[in-house]
């Protein structure tokens, strides 16, 4: 319940940061026209601040954050980002198999036939379809 309530406070704080820092610094000032660049963003941010505050005061619904699962999800997100970085510097042909191998090993897959399918055959199939058949460049 506390987490649920705090999520409203967090939303309101995000709204305030957007209103006083992000919107003024990342929109251009225009003094003509009916709908200026900051008009709609400001309206949406006011909505977020008001609704977030209401939720903080009168919380409804539930919020369940399992920190163990969230930690593991963060690990997989990190692996995904690392795979993206690897593809960026060394290309798809190295990045994709390494990404698949890391994910499958961490999950606990040890059967060689499935590892072979995921690490070699799937990236090769994608390369065949995209690069060879469709002539579209891969990273």
């Amino acid at each position: 319940m506390i987490l649920n309530r705090l999520s409203g406070l967090f939303a309101a704080i995000v709204g305030i940061i957007l209103l006083f820092w992000v919107i003024p610094n990342h929109t251009e000032t225009v003094d003509y026209g009916w709908l200026r660049p900051a008009t709609l963003p400001k309206i949406t941010v006011f909505i977020i601040i008001i609704a977030g505050t209401v939720h903080f005061i009168f919380p409804r619904g539930t919020a369940e954050l399992d920190f163990a699962s969230a930690g593991r999800s963060a690990l997989f997100l990190g692996i995904g980002v690392a795979g993206l970085w690897l593809m960026n510097i060394s290309g798809f042909s190295i990045g994709a198999p390494v990404l698949m191998l890391a994910l499958m090993i961490i999950i606990g897959e040890r059967r060689w036939q499935w590892l072979l399918s995921g690490v070699i055959m799937l990236p090769a199939f994608i390369w065949l379809c995209v690069d060879y058949l469709l002539k579209r460049p891969l990273p």
Partner: protein, 505 residues
Amino acid sequence: MIDLNIILAGFADAFTLYNLFFVWFGILIGQLVGAVPGVGPVMAMAIAIPFTFGLDPLPAIGFLVGVNKGGLVGGAIPAILINTPGTPDAAATTLDGYPMTKKGQPEKATKMALYASVTGDAFSDIVLITGAPLIATVALKMGPIEIFALMIFAFSIIAGLVGDSMAKGIVTAGLGLFCATIGLDPENSTPRFIFGHFELYDGVPLVSMALGMLAVAEIFRRLSLIRGNIGAAVIVPKSQKKADRRVSWTEFWACKYTILRGSIIGTIMGAIPGLDSSAAAFMSYATAKQASKDPDSFGKGNIHGIAATESANSSVSGANLIPLLTLGIPGNIAAALIISALMIHGIQPGPLLFKEQGQLIYGLFCSLLMANVLNLFSGLVGLRLWTKVIKAPESIIFPAALLLCMIGVYLATGGLFGVAVMFIFALLGYIMNALGYSVIVFVIAFFLGERVELSLSQSLNIIDGDLKILLNHPVALVLFALALISVYWFGLKSKKKITAKNSKA
């Protein structure tokens, strides 16, 4: 008045093995690419257009139409089986499709998606064939003020999807709308919130947002749950009854009003240029939920939820051809690709098309109807294949889905920046899911946001401070009134019902 001879000649042109083959081939490609997250039929059509140069106009257009229609069915498959929509259009199908899979009914869910999709598609094709010129004339009366009113009406329907906390739903809708304002503003074309990344000039890529929030966040959640025993991605009980594998006629017929409602919503949205099928699917879902005697079962594996979304998103495709063929205005990207293919083949879409190329157009109509039948039969075979694939271990299904999402987004956005954006939205989607904020409301608000701002900007310029001008737009006034009614109907009344039910319990 078109001569009956021309109609029959057109149908005869279309009904050849040669033409049938290209339509069918297009459907197979469409179903395949639709089922691969991030790739989608639009990209397949764009790639395929140069290959149609050597074909006659009818098989060429029939092939492209086949890819588009096949993609609509294909997109629902991963949405239902692994909670990962193949195309953004299928996002709403995850709501009840995946819970049915979790209940051990993946085949039933995918079959219902196929039947509803083909029915909705056939409905809009029949409307196209019988009433295209009339509908196009009405649709063109929808100016910026009417479009803005329609957008407000669509937003009001979100009230039915916010779940158990209205405040959380409003925060989420506000956040989705805010994210939609990233990029150039529509009135002055000045960049907003791009943080030095010129890739964001066109806004946050839709495919990055949709796949990140809906697919990748779910993939990370599923990966985090695998500990020790590695099972199949989808577990179907061996003792499963036949009734859990198929959709009986009684079940299909019970969804007739849901499918009809979805088809009408999709056809109306499709006939208006610029509105997309995702909005139609969510509107149809919200109305089906509200009309249901058991709205609480929606989101927990109600077959009506799948029927509502799939009939609506598929009926948009036929209706998109209404402004295209009658007025030469493409309703969405797929229609724009078809218009370009028509022009490459020397055909100028527009008011004179029916007069000058009547035989070709009726041939195209016949191809559309053939495509629906072929889509149904190819889909039935394809679904068996996909439901077998999905029984592979989750240790390969989910990493493979992640890699396919990355490559799909890379191809769709033309660079790895789009993939990075996808990961950011995956993180946001994961946090929102955990804290009980509706990801679906965010996605709808994002989908509608750009169009809302554009139509609001145009409307304000038309009105120019004189609100009396609104009296000259009765359709807009009716839509504003409907928006107010739907906020009461979908939001406040539903909440009262839930509160009353809870207090009784």
